[in-house]
C-alpha cells in the first residue's frame, strides 16, 4: 500500500515545482479578501456580524473557484501521461491503476485543501478582526472550508474521468471547461428558466429542489445556506433550502466524490496506452 504514497509524494512535488500550489493559494486569498471587504457593507442592516456576511460572499465565490481549481489540476492527470508516453511505463510497474489514481487524488486534494484553508482562513480572520465573529459564524467558516474541499474532490474525480476519456491533454482541458460551464452556470440557468415557465406549479414546489440538490455545486450552496440562518439571510436564498430535508445537500455532496471516483476508475481501466 505504500505505492500510492510514492505517487502522492511525486505529485505533490510537481504541484509545488510548477507553482500551481502557490498560484492557487494566492488566487484564493486575494478573491476571499476582496469579497470580504466589498461585501461588508450590509452588516448593519442585516444585524449579523461581518464574518457571517463574509462567509456568505465566499460561498458564492467557492461555487465558481473550487471546481475551476480542481479541474485545472485534474485534466492533465491521465491524458498528460498518455501524451508524454510515460503512462505505459508507469503501468508496467507493479502499482495498480487504482493505486495510481488514488495517489494522484490524495496529492491533489491535499493541495486544494491547503489553498482553501489558507484563502478562506485569512479572509475569515480579517473579517473577524474588523467586524467581530461569534461561535456560529466561526462554525459557518469551518463548514465553508470543509464543504469547499468536498466540492473540489467532486470535480477532481470528474476531471480524472474526462482525462481518461479524452484523446489528449488539450481535448481534456476543453472538455473540463465545458463541464465547469454546465455544472456551475448552465445548470442553474436552465433551472431558473424552468421555474419561470412553471409559474410556481408542482415542478417548482416538489421537483425543483431535488433537481437542484442533485448538482454538487448547488448542493454545496444549499448546505452552507441551510445550516446557518445568518448566512441564509445574507445570501437571500432560503426558499429552496427550506423545501428539502436537512440531509439532502450533505448526502449529495458526500456521494458525488465517490461516484465520480468510481466512474474515473472505470474509464481509466479502459485506457490503452
Amino acid at each position: 500500500m505504500t505505492r500510492f504514497l510514492a505517487i502522492t509524494r511525486t505529485e505533490m512535488l510537481i504541484l509545488r515545482r510548477n507553482r500551481w500550489l502557490l498560484v492557487a493559494t494566492l488566487i484564493m486569498v486575494l478573491f476571499a479578501l476582496a469579497l470580504t471587504f466589498a461585501g461588508s457593507a450590509p452588516t448593519g442592516t442585516l444585524g449579523v456580524d461581518m464574518l457571517t456576511v463574509s462567509v456568505a460572499s465566499m460561498t458564492t465565490l467557492s461555487v465558481y473557484l473550487a471546481p475551476l481549481l480542481a479541474l485545472m489540476i485534474a485534466f492533465d492527470a491521465i491524458a498528460g501521461d498518455v501524451d508524454r508516453g510515460s503512462l505505459s511505463l508507469l503501468l508496467s510497474y507493479p502499482a495498480g491503476r487504482g493505486e495510481i489514481l488514488l495517489g494522484k487524488f490524495t496529492a491533489h486534494l491535499a493541495a486544494l485543501a491547503f489553498a482553501m484553508t489558507i484563502g478562506f482562513g485569512t479572509a475569515g480572520a480579517v473579517a473577524a478582526f474588523f467586524g467581530g465573529a461569534g461561535p456560529e459564524s466561526l462554525m459557518a467558516l469551518a463548514r465553508l472550508i470543509l464543504t469547499s474541499i468536498l466540492l473540489g474532490a467532486v470535480f477532481l474525480a470528474l476531471g480524472y474521468l474526462l482525462s481518461a476519456l479524452a484523446k489528449g491533454a488539450t481535448a481534456a482541458a476543453g472538455m473540463s471547461a465545458g463541464l465547469w460551464l454546465v455544472f456551475v452556470v448552465l445548470y442553474d440557468l436552465g433551472l431558473l428558466g424552468a421555474v419561470v415557465m412553471d409559474k410556481g406549479g408542482t415542478f417548482t414546489q416538489s421537483v425543483f429542489p431535488w433537481v437542484m440538490v442533485a448538482n454538487p455545486a448547488d448542493a454545496f450552496r444549499l448546505w452552507n445556506i441551510a445550516a446557518t440562518e445568518g448566512v441564509a439571510i445574507a445570501s437571500g436564498m432560503t426558499g429552496a433550502a427550506q423545501a428539502l430535508p436537512v440531509w439532502a445537500a450533505p448526502v449529495s455532496l458526500l456521494i458525488w466524490p465517490v461516484i465520480g471516483f468510481a466512474l474515473a476508475r472505470v474509464a481509466f481501466w479502459r485506457v490503452e496506452p
Binding site: I14, S86, L89, Y93
Partner: protein, 297 residues
Amino acid sequence: MTDKALSIDHVLKDRGKTRVLDDITLFLDPGQRVALLGHNGAGKSTLIKSILGLTPIHGGAIRIGDATPGSAQARRETAYLPEAVSFHPALTGREQLTLFAQLSGAKADVPGLLERVGLSDALDRRIGAYSKGMRQRLGLAQVLLGQPKVALLDEPTSGLDPISRQDLYAIIDELAGQGTAVLIASHALTEVEARTDRIAIMRKGRMVADDTLTNLSALAGLPIRLKVRASANPDVLAAELGGSRINGASVELLCTPEDKMEALRQIAGLGDAVADVEMTPPKLEDLYRHYAQEDLQ
C-alpha cells in the same frame, strides 16, 4: 514450471478487422539477447504491449516465467523502455528514478544507477531541460532497477549518439550477464547484428524469421560477394571466372556458401593474374530485406 524467461505461444490479436498479431511464437531463455526487427507497423510495439499486459490478446498465450502478462508478479519481473520515452518535465532525474524505485519495491542505489548511464551531472536538473538522448538514458536507468527476468526495449537507440549506443549495448550485455532475457525492437540493423544472440523478424503481424544470423543466412541462401581485382586485363578474368566487370580493374562474382571454397580455389589457380580478393558475406541488411520484404510470396 518453465525454464524459459519469456514464452510467446501462437499469439493472435485483432484490431477491428485487421489481424495485427498473427500466430506469433517466440521463446527467450534467461540471459538471451534477441533482436526484434520489422518495418513500422509490423507489430513490434503491439507485441511488446501484449507482453506487458497493456493490451489484450485474442488467442494463444504469453508467459513471463510462469506469470501471466499484467499480473503483479509479471510486472515485478519485467522491465520496459518505451519508444521515445518522456517524463514529467518538472521533476529531476533523481526524483523520477526514486519514484520508479519505490513503485518497483526494489532497494535501489539511485545516484549509482544514474551514474551508470552517464547522468551523474544531471542528477538534480529538471527533466524538462534534458536532451532527447538524456531522457533515453534516464529511461534506461529504470530498466536496471531490480533484477528483471525480462527486459523489453522498444527502439532503445533512437536519439542516441554513436558513443551512447556503445554504452547502451554494454548495458544490455550487463543485463544479459545477470540472467535477464532482453528483447530489443530496433531499426539499427548493423548494431544489432553484432550484439544479439538471435534475430526475429516480423512482417505484417507475422513472425517470418527467428534464428541466429548464421542460420538465417544459410536459410535465405543469399550469395556471398567476391570481388577479384585483376593485375592485368580484367576482361580475361571475367571470362575465366564467369563474373561481371564492375570497374576498370575488378570483377565481381556471386556464389552460394557451399560453392565458396570452390570459387576461391579457382581464383587461387589463376596465379599472378589476380592482384587481390575481397569477400563479403551477406549483411543483416540484405537478410532483413530478404525476409521483411519478400512480399506476398
